[in-house]
Every structure is written in structure tokens, then in C-alpha cells.
């Protein structure tokens, strides 16, 4: 899948990750997490679940710097033309701008919600907005950032739906080169 359109990536409030030399003991505990976000409830649930289960227990003051979370939101590329039944019609520039703005606002809203969740649990996080096909972008981001673990929600689609709609979590589980944690939405009987 070729993505020839320009990608925009902007890091959020926290800035770039600090690469400091670590002792082996610290390095053992330090995990770089990449959390893939979209508008669905599933990914927010995944974020909360990951924060609660992975980070909740070792809140030790000296290990504040130990775990880095990067929140990634991938925007699908907007096709600037519309296919009605007849010939191709190019959308007016105004429409394109409006849609781009809406997308940017959408992305900002998602990431600010996610950052808020992290802040509630006193976890530092940085944000990343990418454009393109979510599957590819997430895998690429994981490689570039040398993530230790990718956390991704799952919509819980059945086999047939997954074949038609595609599954980002499934694709990532197979193609990324680092461990993947797929968090499923809670089942009806929520047992602890």
C-alpha cells in the first residue's frame, strides 16, 4: 500500500523521549509503550486497562522516568475526490479544508482525552498524530520509536466482519516486530 501523500507528525506537549544511558536494573523495568488510539470506546478502554494493570502497582518515586507512553492516533487520508455514479468530481478546496480541519480537531480531542486519562493516573505520556493507513502507520511508528510493547484495543468483531472490515489489531499482531497487547472490551459478566 503506497502512501505517497505527505505525512504530518507532530509531537505533543511532553516533547521527544529522552535517551539517557540506564543501568541494567533500570533498563529492565523501563518499558516503552505505544498505545494506538482512535475514536472508539475500545481504544480508551484499552488505554485505561493498560495503565491500570501495567503501571498501577509499581508507583515508586525513583522510577518515575521508567515507563514512557506514546499515544498514537492515525488519521485515515481523506480522498480529495468524490465518486458519484458518473465521472469523478473533485471536491472544492473549501470542502477539503473543512474536512481537514474537522479531522485535526477530532484528533486533538481524542488525544487530549487520552492525555487526561494518563494524567489522572499520574503517568507521563507524549502524543503523536500520523496520517495514512492505521495498520501500516502503527507498525512503522513502533519500529521507529523502538517501542517495547504496543497496546491496541479490539473491536471484538466476528470472523466474517473482520474479513470485510479488516482488523487493525490483527494486522499489527502479525506484522509488528515487538510484543503486542490486545485488550478486548469487557464481556457482559465483568468478573474481576
Amino acid at each position: 500500500m503506497e502512501t505517497t501523500t505527505a505525512e504530518t507528525s507532530s509531537t505533543g506537549a511532553e516533547g521527544a523521549a529522552a535517551h539517557q544511558p540506564l543501568t541494567t536494573a533500570e533498563e529492565k523495568r523501563k518499558m516503552k509503550l505505544l498505545v494506538a488510539m482512535d475514536e472508539s470506546d475500545g481504544s480508551f478502554y484499552a488505554l485505561k486497562w493498560a495503565l491500570d494493570h501495567i503501571f498501577c502497582y509499581p508507583i515508586q518515586p525513583d522510577l518515575e522516568e521508567s515507563n514512557m507512553i506514546t499515544l498514537v492516533h492515525v488519521q485515515p487520508i481523506y480522498q480529495p475526490f468524490i465518486y458519484p455514479a458518473g465521472p469523478v468530481v473533485y471536491a472544492a478546496p473549501a470542502v477539503i479544508d473543512a474536512v481537514k480541519q474537522a479531522q485535526a480537531q477530532n484528533a486533538a480531542a481524542i488525544l487530549s482525552r487520552a492525555l487526561h486519562i494518563c494524567k489522572e493516573r499520574k503517568i507521563k505520556a507524549e502524543t503523536l498524530i500520523l496520517e495514512g493507513d492505521p495498520k501500516d502507520r502503527i507498525c512503522q511508528a513502533a519500529e521507529q520509536l523502538h517501542a517495547d510493547l504496543i497496546v491496541i484495543g479490539s473491536r471484538g468483531l466476528g470472523t466474517i466482519k473482520r474479513a470485510f472490515l479488516g482488523s487493525v489489531s490483527s494486522y499489527c499482531a502479525h506484522h509488528v516486530h515487538c510484543p503486542v497487547l490486545i485488550v478486548k472490551p469487557p464481556s457482559k459478566e465483568a468478573h474481576k
Binding site: 536494573a25 529492565k28 523495568r29 518499558m31 486497562w49 494493570h53 501495567i54 498501577c56 502497582y57 509499581p58 515508586q60 523502538h146 517495547d148 510493547l149 479490539s154 470472523t159 473482520r162 489489531s169 490483527s170 499482531a173 502479525h174 509488528v176 516486530h177 515487538c178 510484543p179 503486542v180 497487547l181 490486545i182 485488550v183 478486548k184 464481556s187 468478573h191 474481576k192
Partner: protein
């Protein structure tokens, strides 16, 4: 919170599984006091009938041999796992050998132990191999009722 979360880790005799065990022990059971998870290590012992199919003459003897071999493999896997865990001083581990196909065994184990995470290694097969050989990690991803963590061997990074 005294209530420990349960993590089920699936092991077979491949290197990938032991890499996964290693990775998990490093990141989730590392150093100091952090034993926030109770680890249950499961080895699924396939039944000899499924391995052999329905054989021809003399199959009963072969069945017995295959069964013994599978049992030996299971013991080897568990003892190796015990060694790895004790060398990392992780003591709160439960070991289980369960008969059956790995996929079903793991999903059932998740239910039985009320696990919150299922961790497994991955052979890293491509799409074709996966279609032909089947993928336990694939199946578990989709059918387990809890979060699934698939640990892969990292490709050697090309550091600048």
C-alpha cells in the same frame, strides 16, 4: 490491593515460547517487590491420536511410544520453565500440563483461572504458513475472553 491479577503464559518447546517467558519475567516480574501478577504457566500436551491420525497395523504400539515421548517433552518444558523462573527468583508460579489442542486448552485455561492476561510467544509465520499450519496465537487473539499479549522475538535492530 492484595488481589493479584492472573497472567497465563503458554509454553511449548520452541525457542519463541521461552523468549516470551524471558521477556515477561523481565518486564513484569522484574527486580524488587513488583509481583503484581500471579503467573500460571501452561503447557498444552497434544494427544497422540491427533498427532498420528488413525494409523494402520501396529498403531497401538506406536501410540504408546508417541504418548511417552509427548510426556517427556512436557516434563522437559516444565522443568526448563521452573529453572528459568527460579533463576529470576520468581516464586509465585503455578505450572500446569493440560491435555488437548493448544488453542482450546489456552482459552479454557483463561476461563478457569479467571486470567486477566494471556501471554504467548509467536512463531512469526507469514500468512501462508499460518493458513496451512495454523496459528495458536491467532486463534487466541480472537477467541480468548481476556487481553492477549503476543511476544515476538525482536528482529535485530539496526542501530545508527
Amino acid at each position: 490491593m492484595e488481589d493479584k491479577q492472573v497472567m497465563v503464559l503458554a509454553l511449548d518447546e520452541s525457542d519463541h515460547s521461552f523468549y516470551a517467558l524471558d521477556w515477561i519475567l523481565t518486564h513484569f516480574f522484574g527486580s524488587s517487590s513488583n509481583n503484581s501478577f500471579k503467573l500460571i504457566i501452561i503447557h498444552a500436551k497434544t494427544s497422540p491420536v491427533s498427532v498420528m491420525g488413525f494409523g494402520g497395523p501396529g498403531s497401538t504400539d506406536v501410540l504408546h511410544l508417541v504418548e511417552t515421548d509427548l510426556k517427556k517433552t512436557a516434563e522437559k518444558v516444565i522443568s526448563k520453565a521452573k529453572d528459568v523462573c527460579s533463576s529470576r527468583s520468581v516464586t509465585d508460579v503455578q505450572y500446569e500440563v493440560i491435555d488437548g489442542d493448544a488453542r482450546n486448552v489456552l482459552c479454557d485455561a483463561v476461563e478457569q483461572f479467571h486470567a486477566s492476561i494471556l501471554a504467548l510467544g509467536s512463531h512469526g509465520y507469514g500468512a501462508f504458513k499460518r493458513a496451512v499450519l495454523g496459528s495458536v496465537s491467532d486463534y487466541c487473539c480472537h477467541h480468548a475472553r481476556c487481553s492477549v499479549m503476543i511476544v515476538k522475538k525482536q528482529k535485530p535492530k539496526q542501530k545508527p
